[in-house]
């Protein structure tokens, strides 16, 4: 588990051997090392204002719809992440599983909040090629499950 500072908060994330992490511009970016020619599996983590988590999630989805080609929501489900990441009881905002196209590639992504203190939320976006999704799922789950944020 490696510690990073995002917007003045400490965020800890497991970084598997095959992944590299970089914190810049208020975002933590974990990327898996693969061939340069292919879109890399990436997990982006950021703090953002989210006094209303549902509205914040809708806003993020709207951004993806506008920016990505053929962005399609495919599935919505709750993800049981670390309970201590929530200052109050974890609100029932779901994670959204969606797909889109990037050039010649079909990518799938997951978007949701992994924590919140009532004012800010820890936003998580994972992206990978459909062909990699099944084999990478355990690694993505392990990173998301291990995310920690200090609100104090």
């Amino acid at each position: 588990v490696t510690s990073f500072t995002l917007a003045g908060r400490t965020v800890r994330a497991p970084v598997p051997d095959t992944w590299e992490a970089d914190a810049a511009d208020g975002r933590l970016r974990l990327a898996r090392r693969v061939q340069d020619a292919l879109p890399r599996p990436v997990i982006e983590i950021a703090l953002r204002p989210a006094p209303n988590l549902r509205a914040a999630l809708d806003e993020e989805i709207e951004g993806l719809v506008l920016r990505l080609t053929d962005f399609t929501i495919l599935h919505v489900e709750a993800r049981a992440l670390r309970a201590e990441n929530w200052v109050r009881e974890a609100p029932p905002t779901p994670f959204v599983f969606a797909g889109y196209r990037q050039g010649l590639y079909s990518l799938v992504c997951e978007l949701g909040f992994a924590g919140g203190d009532g004012e800010d939320g820890l936003l998580v976006l994972s992206v990978c090629l459909l062909e990699d999704a099944a084999t990478l799922q355990p690694e993505i789950d392990a990173i998301l499950d291990g995310l920690e944020v200090d609100w104090s």
Partner: protein, 181 residues
Amino acid sequence: MTARRLEIRPDGGDDLDAGTLSPAAWERWNAEAVWCSLQDLSTHRRELRLAIVPPHAVVSDGEERLLLAATSAPAVFWAASGLYTTVPSGNHEVDAVALAAAVTAWLDGEEPEAAPRAVHARLGRGDELMREEILLDLDGGWLSGRRYAIEDEPMVTLDDFSMKDLLLDLSALLALSAIPD
């Protein structure tokens, strides 16, 4: 590579890139393909099908066939499918016995007497069927009916359907097919 129409004609050749295949060549190509099929059982049995043999893929909607790059075809397929799922799909007050009977009928190629809108979902490679289920549309949420054999006794189970789960199975099959036999 952009999407192009693919025609299957008796005078077609053996080269997929030419955009026209003979029925025999089409059959040979499909024998190697990883494929996923969604057949609407309620509306004229229309079938949306994705078949992949890298570097090519074919997305079929009935008799219309589009030839695409293998990497870009899944996005076309899932966008065209219109399937969107949540878990749980809702607290449906379902008549499980009646739905199981409908699933059994559909899996046996028969028409149930009364049933919700349904989709026959299948996933496989060549002749090998890896996954088969009947998706039942209940107020916008989808249930999945699958048949198992327990000690030779066929049983139907009904669960929430997850589009994510189906795509992860497709992903696993594509990853496996990338490894030479």
